[in-house]
Amino acid sequence: MAAEGNAKPAKKLSLKENYALLTRGLGWEPSYEKQEEIFRNISFEGIKIHDWEKWEDPFRLTMDAYWKYQGEKERKLYAIVDAFQQNNGQFNVTDARYVQALKIFINGITELEYDSHRGFSMLAREFPGVGPRIAAQMQSLDELRHATTQIHTISQYAKYFTGMNEFPYQFDRAWYLSIPKSFFEDAVTSGPFEFIVAISFAFEYVLTNLAFMPWMSGAAFNGDMATVSFGFSAQSDEARHMTLGIEVIKFLLEQDPANVPLVQKWIDKWFWRGYRLLSLLATMMDYMLPKRVMAWNEAWEIYYEQNGGALFADLARYGIKPPTRAPETIAEKGLVAHQMWSVFYANRDAVGFQMWLPSEEEMDWMSEKYPDTFDKYYRPRYEYWREMEKAGTPFKNTTLPQLCQVCQWPCLFTEPNDPTTLSLRETEYKGETFHMCSDGCKDIFDDTPEKFVHAWLPVHQIYQGNCFLPDVDPTAPGFNPMYEALRYMGIKPGVDGGDFKGSADATNWEKWTSRPANIHEGAYTDAVRDTGNQSDVARKAV
């Protein structure tokens, strides 16, 4: 007892000491293996790092604090998810049309969080510096958390709506999901420095504000408590990731002037790849949100032209220039959302979410937001398609697209300054022709054709006969290759995609909620209570 009484309590460490021990103090100098044998993937890209100790941890976060904060956020989020489920929160969203956007999210985005988790795990192993390794480890855990929390928040919708129950299966097979998949797999199979510039800087720092600000505001505005709660829970992680992105760039640029051209090349490449991926968001914001927060061109002005402009002005002192293909993104900001929606509509039988034509009122909103392009080009197209629907001969495209070898989007984009001419690019490489959708993607192919010649392009895979389930006999009478390819991809033809009107989602929604499935069109069925509004009155009169 006496001895214990005499012992002085351990000295409480200052925050600084605690931080030093729990980050840099966790590393060690190898004594019986060579440093370069342990960290084998750090030199082949040509990046020169002279002093890893110069890495400034942007957050000064230790692992113990990390677990504590994340644990608190999880508890809060899952309390809300519980309440959401118990209160049938899936019926509190604006309408069932909104849910179609969630299908794209769960099938195309959530898996990217998981891929990002894998990528950052690799960095946590590959970087010799302790500071960046710990930052990468934390981000790896964040990304895993984002994948699981997205799955949990959206799973409630999957119990009531079609098209969300096969997301990991679809991600590896569905023709349009090769777009996000190939984006991240290109990053993960790059060297560690290219990966971190691609994801932490070009994607997280420069571009994902577009996803987190307008898209999450849209979820909130449309009553989607599950998604917006996930968004809030992820927000502080995203802030940390963005700060990591800017620290990475400054660290690489300050370590050696020879790093500047390499970093510039990766910024050019990954800005373009990230932009092409996010074009999907353009159509989700402008067409899929029943209540809109802002148009894609407005979001691009704020989050790229203004914020990105300030960022690249700041980086000019290192000799870094804005991405080479940024002018194209600005030139076509009034086009992409409309081009993409039209293509989805025309091919609605081949996708896992349902489609519709914008109503008069929605087209008026677009005319206001896109005064230079909408009335001149896209309104007449939709009006014509509306006529075809009324005539009982709705327009459908039935032939598969020429795909871009790099971004894997169909070659659907036009010249940035001419909405009437497709932007078709090609390169002949070792005797074979390769197609690209844009100068941005052509730059990337021409720089590293070795990496892109073996891209898994779904259209070519279908035509090679590689996209059928084992029970299929392509020689059987009545064999329908498109139907079978969709089945292979986990898409139920006639259930998951097609026209929104008449779909199981729309019909069930009206039966379960007595509210219109598409607020812009009024009721589709008699299950909707007469609310006295004009569309209901008109419907009853008919």
Binding site: R40, N41, F44, E45, G46, G191, Q339, S342, V343, A346, Y377, Y378, P380, R381, Y384, T393, F395, K396, N397, T398, T399, L400, P401, Q402, L403, P410, C411, L412, T414, P419, T420, T421, L422, L424, E426, K430, E432, T433, F434, H435, D447, T448, E450, K451, F452, V453, H454, A455, W456, L457, V459, H460, Y463, Q464, G465
Partner: protein, 121 residues
């Protein structure tokens, strides 16, 4: 400059070379100023397909729903690939018309530029 990779002389295999298409070759066909069909249409065809059979047997299935399609005067159609304009011989095969694997053929129809002259329609 070659790609920088862990493996020396890294090079992916050509995944879409013509030998993998079971006797067919890939042809992409784009009708200019008719962007209701908003991408070049990718179809597998035997290389021996006569160009005339492409016009008569394949294009109607792809583009036939467009009101301009029936009005096309095929003698006036202008054809081109990335190598420039060409005049197809309908009796000759794709290959003999210079259409190789993964060639994109664009055609334009003078006087016909979309529904009500709107080239994206």
């Amino acid at each position: 400059m070659p790609i920088k990779a862990i493996t020396p002389d890294y090079h992916g295999d050509f995944r879409d070379s013509v030998d993998k298409f079971r006797g067919n070759q890939i042809v992409n066909i784009h009708w200019e100023k008719h962007l209701m069909f908003a991408w070049p249409m990718c179809v597998p065809l035997p290389p021996t397909t006569p160009f005339g059979a492409l016009i008569e047997g394949v294009l109607p299935g792809i583009f036939g729903a467009h009101p301009n399609f029936k009005q096309i005067d095929w003698s006036q159609v202008e054809w081109k690939t990335s190598k420039g304009p060409f005049k197809p011989d309908p009796a000759k095969s794709l290959v003999d018309n210079g259409i190789g694997h993964k060639t994109t053929i664009s055609f334009s129809t003078p006087g016909l530029t979309g529904v009500n002259g709107n080239a994206i329609c």
